[in-house]
Symmetry: C2
Subunit: 336 residues, 2 copies
């Protein structure tokens, strides 16, 4: 890598002349500017990012902490974050908390030593279960803004981007009720998460609004064999005619299990699930999905953070909570 120093030496001028010439300062003569720029081009000079960061006390880098990269939704959000960040001239440093509070803490502390200007993160499962928030507060107190997405800690003052989880399942359930479904079950593998609970509540509300319906919920654990559990669930509750699923796999597995047991989908059982378009292909008929627009969530989160990072000194920005609305995309796993 060429440095200003080397260019200066070769041109027989001072370092600052080179710097100023490259930054189009008025103080440097036209001729000199030209000479400098030509040599810089020749050697493919680019300012050293690290020196710049040190001098300007900002890194143009965002720390992203996600609990699980294998979660398709989170991966997609990451994609959205990356794209928006890149567009605005930022890089992202990614850490994976693996749903662990300890790792989340470590990642925050590791990157809060000048490596990044701020954080975009999704709270780890363990953190949510234990209700721990001090590490977030400490980071913010250090002057590093945080934007939380999807799973958020409500008692931390920061920007947030969330999904209308409650509404989404409420509306999905309602839409099934409109088609005369009377025994709609709710299947979830994310009962420990804040969003999982919200989704269940949305479902519950819709069910309880019908005087003759009762909630019927199957909560799966991470280690459970979903196929078996769902199969047993269907066997126990023979009158199920609809399924709302809260995570990206349960819906698909529900359809396949129902088909396997001889039910017709959607005639006998209608299914709607939180999932992405690509996963919806994994069943025939295709799963009707609640799309979360993960891309947008990521883009919004990055946007909020960068806006805060680039605000002028005098302006105070209030903390915003942005809700990205889900869309119900009906495919053939539900009757039109």
């Amino acid at each position: 890598m060429v440095t200003l120093k080397q260019l200066a030496k070769e041109l027989n001028v001072s370092i600052s002349t080179v710097s100023k010439a490259l930054n189009n300062s008025e103080e440097i003569g036209e001729e000199t500017v030209k000479r400098v720029k030509e040599l810089a081009q020749l050697y493919n000079y680019t300012p050293n990012k690290v020196a710049l960061s040190l001098k300007q006390n900002k890194t143009k880098t965002i720390g992203v902490i996600i609990p699980d990269i294998l979660n398709h939704f989170l991966a997609k959000v990451l994609f959205g974050i990356e794209r928006e960040a890149t567009k605005r001239g930022y890089n992202i440093i990614t850490c994976i908390s693996n749903e662990s509070l300890e790792k989340e803490k470590e990642a925050l502390e590791l990157l809060a030593n000048g490596s990044v200007d701020g954080f975009v993160l999704c709270v780890a499962e363990e953190t949510q279960i234990e209700g721990e928030v001090n590490h977030f507060k400490r980071t913010i107190a250090k002057g590093l803004p945080i934007v939380m997405f999807d799973r958020v800690a409500h008692d931390v003052l920061c920007d947030k981007v969330i999904v209308d989880d409650f509404d989404a399942t409420y509306r999905a359930t309602k839409s099934m009720q409109l088609k005369k479904r009377k025994n709609i079950a709710f299947i979830s593998r994310i009962n420990d998460l804040s969003v999982g609970k919200l989704r269940e509540r949305g479902y519950n509300k819709a069910i309880l609004e019908e005087s003759n319906q009762e909630p019927l919920v199957l909560n799966l654990k991470k280690k459970d064999d979903s196929q078996q559990k769902i199969k047993a669930f269907f066997k126990k509750h023979k009158n199920i005619d609809g399924v709302i699923s809260a995570d990206s796999s349960s819906g698909i597995i529900a359809i396949n299990t129902a088909l396997n047991k001889g039910y017709k989908v959607p005639k006998d059982i209608s299914v709607i699930g939180f999932a992405s378009k690509s996963v919806s292909n994994h069943s025939i008929p295709r799963l009707s999905i609640i799309r979360q627009h993960a891309n947008q969530i990521g883009a919004n989160a990055a946007d909020l953070l960068i806006n805060r990072l680039e605000k002028k000194f005098d302006e105070e920005i209030e903390f915003k909570t942005k809700i990205v609305k889900t869309s119900l995309v009906l495919s053939k796993s539900t009757l039109k």
Copy 2:
């Protein structure tokens, strides 16, 4: 963030005394060391990463460029890279090339300005199609080592981590032939990729070793409706009794399509596909998979890079190509 300077001022000693005391230098008195360490602890001092990077001319950061984060395999490799890197004290900066040559070039150049010490990457599809490699060579010439994984550019001298793609499909096909399958088809949505081609060749070899068998290949385009194409394929070739799939979705869709058409799986049609364990759940019976050990691939790639970064000046390490062997994990979509 507290700096050495602030500590030094408060302690009435020089900056370097503080620095040395914190680094357990022999040159500083026991008493002073204690005083310094106590204050540093009190203020929660951590060395500024950026200043350290500048001074030591290394960032302890790896640039990771992946073509597609929504690809489950690639996401899993990223996970492996992240874990290994974290374990060895490195951070990763992630860029997504979106399968585009241009973006890949940009990412390389963007990060080659001192942001990272080296790269771990998977070659973008467009790059493979166009056979462009100069941007890689330029980066290596700048002194930034590259490790390529999965899709690699063979005429670039660097460390590589690959999968035994050819062998994997060869063995999978052979295993079906042993079970008396006579009309085994090959379905792929990644025909443009080097690995896709290798997988097809492995299949071809096994087929052509049987005098009375002919290759039967379905290449899907990205924009195709896989369900429809596969359905049509089955309709056209009614005697298919086995399917080998090269990508993570086709196998699942093949099973579901076969079931939908009334075939019994595995009795009438046996299916084996490249896929991950979690996806194999998306069919009943579960898809028999060729596991690529994406985690290990990532860990190996990070390992190779870090070893090279941390080598002593005098030692020359030869460029290695590590092959991570796939495992054939048979589930109920194939007969035992």
